[in-house]
Symmetry: C2
Subunit: 208 residues, 2 copies
């Protein structure tokens, strides 16, 4: 799709642009210049223009960017034009929290089911989603498309479950287990290490 490789640094910024632009649209703002946006986001205008230009000229000289159009374009870049079928492995508090996010569906992200070793322990159901036993996972994968698996399970279980998922055809992994999941190269793993982020905070409290 794009000409040259896009750096990780740029990709990380795209959802943030999305967030600010969506907020602007909600406020009824239709156009925005890189300068105005840069002031709100506390980045340089140059960076915004440079980032957006990697994917195409979405702006217009003398005018700026059309907010709705830019949301649409960045959404396409991020793959939100395609729908994604998602399952959550681990129906504990974290799994239920993620499964319960309501805004995902606006972006083509559909949570289809949860899995847990002890599904009956799940007192409340989450938005009416089914909670299956882990033993049913291979069968489910045979009969249902799954683009992304969310792993909210202990690190001791994470790798073996990920392998079942990979063998069942899943290629997207959103991993909350406390280890860096290593899977074959055609699997895409986004590791989320919450405690790493908390330690960055304790670092700053100590040093700054």
């Amino acid at each position: 799709m794009e000409k040259r490789a896009i750096s990780q640094a740029v990709i990380k910024r795209l959802p943030r642009y999305m967030r600010y632009l969506t907020e602007l649209r909600a406020q009824g703002i239709e156009r925005i210049s890189s300068k105005e946006l840069s002031e709100q986001m506390k980045v340089t205008a140059s960076q915004i223009r440079q980032d957006l230009n990697l994917f195409g000229g979405f702006g217009q000289q003398g005018y700026g960017y059309n907010v709705s159009n830019l949301i649409h374009e960045i959404g396409n870049i991020l793959g939100l034009d395609q729908s994604h079928d998602i399952i959550v492995i681990g129906a504990g508090n974290l799994g239920r929290a993620l499964a319960g996010y309501e805004n995902f569906e606006n972006r083509g992200l559909y949570i289809r089911a949860l899995f847990d070793i002890a599904p009956e322990k799940t007192v409340k159901d989450v938005r009416g989603l089914p909670v299956y036993s882990m033993t049913e996972l291979p069968e489910y994968l045979k009969n249902n498309r799954v683009d992304i698996a969310v792993l909210t399970i202990p690190k001791t279980a994470a790798l073996s479950v990920a392998q079942i998922l990979y063998n069942g055809g899943v290629r997207g992994f959103w991993n909350f287990a406390h280890l860096d999941l290593a899977l074959p190269d055609d699997a895409y793993v986004e590791n989320v290490h919450l405690s790493d982020s908390l330690m960055q905070l304790t670092y700053r409290l100590k040093h700054q």
Copy 2:
């Protein structure tokens, strides 16, 4: 503490070193060279040595690094030698998930209480922690030290609650609300945007 400013890139890597080193120690491994560690972590040995050297010479030529000692040193750098008192604002699934992490206490991170607008809705209690009403927050802040507040509340409430916390003396904010919290410069905010991270995954599924 350190001579020159440490870059954000380095600080981000420290918790990851911590994770791998802790795993090594659990396996009974007492010494490790930057070369071995670099192979496990899939980074360059040079980067490991350069990073660690910013804080002091923790290694020994011809030997490598002592695992336990290095864990201790990085822990100090990250501020884990100090104890931190933490409260969680929002006792929904996410708040309860974070409050329930058991490993925090090994690192001096003590969750003391949760707050919620509707504390009675919280069916199960979390490890026996008290769940207070939000109306009790200002009083709590007068009587208790709070180093870090975890915000797991809707974005519409986040800024006003953060200001109450800031006025009550809280300077560390671990923010899960879906906006970038802007607070005075002496407050340290670590924003965690889970959906940003999921969008990086959808980007990669589309493009790679």
